[in-house]
């Protein structure tokens, strides 16, 4: 080993990369499979876990608040308080407890999602016309049947709008999670700032925007498919 290490030839960058031009398509496509695609998948995973878990919790809170009116105030106060904490601060507060882990990130993301989801689900439930609920009760439906057969379907538009805003917001917040875990598109953005490189920065940023728009579009589509009566009413 006295001769010292063998240093492989790492070659040189293309002119575009060497000059750190705005966007080098060649580099982007060359690193799609080992850099951008894995980061995109991680970003989607982090987002889906947060939105699904947040939705389940917010849904339970909203149903509870709908049945037990007293619960609405504290639930709303708590979730809106969590919503106002700056993301970076919340991540840093959680790190000593749960470490530099996915758990830290998910706790924060779920905390952020609660307010919008809880509010939109509860508003949806409360704005179901009184007549519809009374008619259902008159037909002998139980409280639970009324919830699942009448109130929930009728509050779907509000619920979907809540999911849309929350999903788009979460996709943005996941980018900040790179301060805690080396994962997702935020990690590429952070590293491209640390060692300035426009192509990686712009590529990862654009992917995050495209991901948010796509998710939003898919939820709009899902909302349409789930509420066929709304379409037939419009057509009529």
């Amino acid at each position: 080993m006295s001769a010292g290490p063998v240093i492989p030839d790492y070659g040189s960058p293309s002119a575009c990369v060497a000059n750190n031009s705005t966007f080098c398509v060649d580099w982007f496509t060359a690193h799609w499979s080992n850099l951008f695609w894995p980061a995109l998948v991680q970003h989607i995973e982090l987002t889906v876990i947060a939105v699904v878990a947040g939705f389940v919790i917010a849904f339970l809170m909203a149903v509870l608040a709908h049945f037990q009116g007293w619960f609405a105030m504290p639930a709303s106060a708590l979730s809106s308080f969590l919503y106002t904490v700056p993301p970076l601060a919340l991540f840093q507060l959680l790190v000593p407890v749960t470490g530099f882990s996915v758990l830290t990130v998910e706790i924060a993301l779920i905390a952020y999602s609660l307010y919008l989801l809880f509010t939109t689900i509860l508003t949806g439930l409360r704005e179901v016309p009184e007549d519809a609920v009374r008619a259902a009760r008159g037909m002998g439906l139980t409280r639970r049947q009324i919830l699942f057969k009448v109130e929930l379907p009728m509050s779907l538009p509000s619920l979907i709008s809540g999911l849309r805003v929350t999903t788009v917001m979460t996709i943005g917040t996941v980018a900040i999670a790179a301060y805690v875990i080396d994962s997702g598109l935020g990690s590429l953005i952070l590293k491209a700032l640390q060692s300035p490189f426009n192509t990686q920065f712009i590529g990862a940023g654009a992917l995050a925007v495209i991901l948010a728009l796509t998710a939003d579009g898919l939820l709009v589509l899902a909302g349409r498919l789930l509420t066929p009566w709304a379409r037939s009413r419009k057509a009529a």
Binding site: S12, T119, T123, L125, S195
Partner: protein
């Protein structure tokens, strides 16, 4: 939200006046009190959520009875590559390894180490004395710096493996035009340049290698400082936002040229070899081959090798994992 201010009565059935008692119990069509039911639904969903959360957190896998070793790396190029080198060499030697890269600054990653979130990370000997031990003075040789750093870490339930041949020291860089204009050769020459704006990274303001001591020991009185994260000093110099910057000698952005280093005539910036800082107990758990593997990698890290790998990541823009893999392969480690 105004929507939430409504009284509960707004949704309760008209015939039953909502008393202050639990409104649910006054309704007939219900077969079971809803409070109980919702608590059961709550329990089910709490279980669901925890399953979802757990599935998202890479559960620590323990194959072959040895716990996973978690390696940390700080927030700049050289660390990303060294972290990958450690990870890949250990993986190749049959250990279970996880790499948490880009964790943060010295103080942040040291907290992660002492709290057991990571098991080891590569650190610079001088930085340990300055940032963590807060020494007022620095030793006068690389070996003495390593010994002092190791002795300090030993007091905190940590230990250090062998140091690398290479050093990544601090230096003061200016633009050549600026140096020419005022005839700057050494750091103390900056006195000739009037009001000087310095770029310094946040970790290095205080302490024995820090900005405040540096301006004091060189007698630079007419200075101002801007804290900038590692890696951003060069564009600040290029755009004239700062006149001088604390830079790292192995930084490829420096090797690219276009900067003049000022002589550190007082030897202010000490010595900065790298060595893995490991939590005590990790080596016992992993066996003697563990330290040998890391020492083999570190022995290969000469100035030239590290500069070239930094260039591969920072200039050629290859992924640190790829750069590390090719280096290890060229040297028969994987």
């Amino acid at each position: 939200m105004r929507g939430l201010r409504r009284t509960p009565a707004a949704v309760s059935p008209a015939p039953v006046p909502a008393a202050n008692a639990a409104p649910a119990t006054g309704r007939r069509p219900l077969r079971r009190p809803p409070a109980r039911r919702s608590s059961r639904v709550l329990a089910i969903c709490a279980a669901l959520v925890s399953v979802a959360a757990l599935s998202g957190c890479g559960a620590v896998s323990e194959t072959a009875g040895k716990p996973t070793v978690v390696i940390g790396a700080k927030e700049f190029t050289e660390q990303w590559t060294i972290g990958e080198l450690y990870k890949q060499a250990l993986t190749h030697a049959g250990y279970n390894v996880e790499l948490k890269s880009n964790i943060g600054s010295t103080t942040v990653i040291d907290g992660a180490l002492t709290s057991g979130q990571i098991d080891l990370y590569p650190e610079y000997t001088g930085v340990i004395l300055q940032v963590l031990a807060r020494s007022r003075t620095v030793p006068h040789s690389a070996a003495a710096t390593y010994r002092a750093a190791k002795a300090y870490e030993e007091t905190r339930g940590l230990t250090m493996l062998d140091p690398t041949p290479f050093q990544n020291r601090d230096a003061i860089a200016v633009k050549p035009a600026f140096a020419k204009k005022y005839g700057l050769k050494t750091i103390s020459d900056l006195k000739k340049a009037g009001h000087v704006v310095f770029a310094e990274y946040p970790d290095n303001m205080e302490g024995a290698l820090g900005y405040r001591d540096m301006v004091k020991s060189y007698g630079l009185h007419n200075t101002e400082v801007k804290t900038l994260n590692i890696g951003l000093q060069y564009s600040a110099l290029d755009h004239g936002q700062v006149d001088a910057a604390d830079v790292f000698t192995t930084d490829p952005q420096l090797a690219r040229g276009g900067y003049t280093l000022l002589d550190d005539t007082k030897g202010y910036y000490g010595f900065q070899n790298v060595a893995p800082v490991v939590r005590k107990g990790v080596q016992e758990k992993q066996g003697p081959e563990f330290a040998r593997t890391l020492n083999r990698v570190d022995a290969l890290l000469t100035d030239q090798a590290v500069r070239e790998m930094n260039r591969a990541v920072d200039t050629v823009r290859l992924a640190p994992s790829e750069v590390a893999a090719r280096f290890l392969k060229a040297n028969d480690i994987s």
